[in-house]
């Protein structure tokens, strides 16, 4: 319990710190009370029914940027969630918890290197890492499904580090 609260507090701090870098054009969570801090502190914020549109991974960079708040990026060969994405996951967790009927699919992806099936398994691992984080934040398992697209749906075309780093990701997809 205390660990959970700690995690939540940490997430809130990160959310506040990271506010300026989170694009708000299409926020998954819209707080209509008094601000991010209150949302975290209250734990019971008003969550608008803003739909989070799913975006085809093949769309332009611009679309990808507008949806930065629902994509978690990973290092090569890694499924560890980097601290800078904790705020995003916390915000998503609150959004999901606000409506028990809400369902989210976490879609794991990899870069293009290596075999298709092994990459599918690596993407699955990333999706499940996010699912576990949501779990720790109190999201019910029944609301989350972790699936993988492996390397089949790159967000960005290209065979260099810049493209690869944008393709190693897990996306929140509300269906």
């Amino acid at each position: 319990m205390s660990m959970k609260k700690l995690a939540l507090l940490g997430a809130v701090a990160l959310l506040m710190a990271g506010c300026s870098s989170v694009n708000l054009n299409n926020p998954p969570v819209e707080d209509r009370s008094t601000g991010g801090a209150a949302a975290g502190a209250g734990g019971d914020s008003v969550v608008a029914k803003t739909t989070v549109g799913n975006v085809e991974a093949s769309q332009s960079d611009q679309a990808a940027i507008a949806n930065v708040a629902r994509v978690v990026y990973f290092d090569y060969d890694s499924y560890a969630i980097k601290p800078e994405f904790q705020a995003l996951i916390d915000a998503q967790a609150r959004y999901i918890k606000a409506d028990p009927k809400r369902k989210v699919v976490i879609e794991g992806h990899t870069d293009e290197r290596g075999g298709r099936e092994y990459n599918l398994a690596l993407g699955q691992r990333r999706a499940e890492a996010v699912r576990r984080s949501l779990n720790l934040l109190g999201v019910a398992d029944s609301q989350v499904e972790a699936v993988s697209f492996g390397k089949e749906k790159p967000a960005v075309q290209g065979g260099d580090d810049a493209a690869w780093s944008k393709n190693r990701r897990a996306e929140f997809s509300y269906r």
Binding site: S58, R113, G115, E117, Q124, E128, F149, K153
Partner: protein, 426 residues
């Protein structure tokens, strides 16, 4: 039914006068290649398919034949050809034949194989077939020649499956073993991966993302009917058939993590049986052809390696020991060889291991090899790779000396699987 379907499809395709583009890009020199002459078949210049060229390309791709420059003059199967000029050019054997259109619109294809050195008739055959089956007839001729001269069964009339991506359209194709004559089995706006032929060559299992998550279908090739066999929570992938065709090994994440399960495909809706219990990735299950083992990929040791375990479940033992990334195991039907992809200095390279000795050979110098499968006679490996940034399908001999690029559909081409020998029903 199958035949009629094929005929209709092929007739539709045949409207476009599409001569096969033969580019058997053979690299390297085999150690013991049989020099063979292929005379132009009488009548083939006005036929829809150049039979002798298809036969020659087949034999070349096998790596066990070396074509000898053709002599001028038309030969056919009816009379004993003048073998002297062929002998002088170094041919050990010679294929002659003819193709003629019959009154009912079908074609009569005949051939004879000669032992040039002994001046001996090694036999021949004739086929009365529709235009749609001309390529099949050519592959049957290549099979006949191959069997007579090498003693091994020919694989030229078998089929392969592969996937293409063209724009945002994914298609699963069934094609001749040379990649030609492809017919679509499935088209989807979402990815298709991991096609796998059933042991009887009638069904394809594959992973489709059409429901925006990976699920496994079994697809009857002749009728186009298919059924969803694995659609559990999470990801469903990597189907591999047991040799008796009754069981499909798959990777499921329904209990968290990618783990191996078996499905009884003879009983729809039956509960999957869990095979592995690990906190690591276990995937790409592949049965050995004697049904004894399931080979698979696991990162339980810290990096992906190939393991095998008794097919009914049990203690896995590690199979690959060199390198820190070994995936996509494929086993030869004769049980002697394991093909797989190994990462070497950042390049993904097809390797083959002789199972009895553990000796490993790198077979290519490309950097993005994927998804090997063996020809049913265990003499060639089919795999996907990239050449000049374009996806390509290749075959290679097991010593890596003879490689050929398969032609195919436009766009990206990938995920090949070589089908089994088929009953000669057609």
């Amino acid at each position: 039914m199958l035949k009629r379907l094929l005929l209709t499809l092929l007739a539709a395709l045949a409207v476009v006068p599409a001569y096969a583009q033969f580019r058997v890009e053979v690299s390297g020199v085999g150690l013991t290649q049989l020099p063979i002459g292929l005379a132009s078949f009488r009548g083939e210049e006005s036929a829809p398919q150049k039979i002798s060229a298809i036969v020659q390309a087949d034999l070349e791709r096998s790596g066990q034949f070396r074509p000898v420059a053709a002599q001028t003059g038309v030969l056919d199967e009816n009379s004993k050809p003048d073998l002297v000029p062929w002998r002088q050019n170094g041919a050990d054997s010679l294929v002659v034949g003819s193709i003629a259109r019959l009154a009912d619109g079908r074609y009569d294809v005949r051939f004879r194989l000669w032992d040039v050195v002994a001046g001996k008739d090694l036999g021949g055959q004739s086929y009365a077939i529709t235009q749609a089956d001309l390529r099949l007839a050519a592959h049957r001729i290549a099979d006949f020649v191959y069997e007579k001269l090498t003693g091994d069964k020919g694989i030229f009339s078998t089929r392969i499956a592969y996937v293409t991506k063209s724009g945002q359209r994914y298609s699963l194709w069934v094609a001749d073993a040379d990649g030609e004559g492809a017919q679509p089995a499935l088209t989807s706006p979402e990815p298709i991966i991991s096609p796998s032929w059933s042991p009887d060559g009638r069904q394809l299992a594959y992973v489709s993302f059409e429901s925006r998550k990976p699920v496994v279908y079994v697809h009857d090739v002749a009728s186009g009917r298919r059924r969803l066999v694995a659609n559990f929570r999470g990801s469903n992938s990597a189907p591999g058939w047991s040799p008796d065709g009754r069981t499909l090994a798959v990777t499921l994440s329904r209990d968290g993590g990618s783990q191996l399960y078996t499905l009884d495909v003879t009983t729809p809706g039956s509960e999957p049986r869990r095979l592995t219990q690990s906190s690591s990735i276990d995937t790409e299950p592949t049965y050995s052809h004697d049904g004894q083992f399931i080979y698979f990929v696991s990162d339980r040791g810290g990096s992906p390696q190939i393991y095998r375990m008794p097919a009914a479940g049990g203690m896995p033992e590690r199979v690959t020991f060199t390198g820190n990334y070994n995936i996509s195991p494929a086993l030869s039907v004769d049980g002697r060889w394991l093909a797989y992809i190994s990462r070497v200095n950042g390049a993904f390279i097809l390797h083959v291991m002789e199972l009895a000795t553990g000796n490993v050979t790198a077979l290519t110098e490309t950097t993005a090899d994927e998804n090997p499968s063996f020809a049913p006679n265990s003499r060639l490996i089919l795999y996907a790779t990239k050449q000049q940034d374009r996806e390509a399908l290749m075959t290679t001999t097991l010593d890596g000396k003879i490689k050929a690029r398969l032609t195919g559909q436009g766009g990206d081409i990938r995920e090949p699987d070589w089908g089994p020998f088929q009953k000669q029903a057609r």
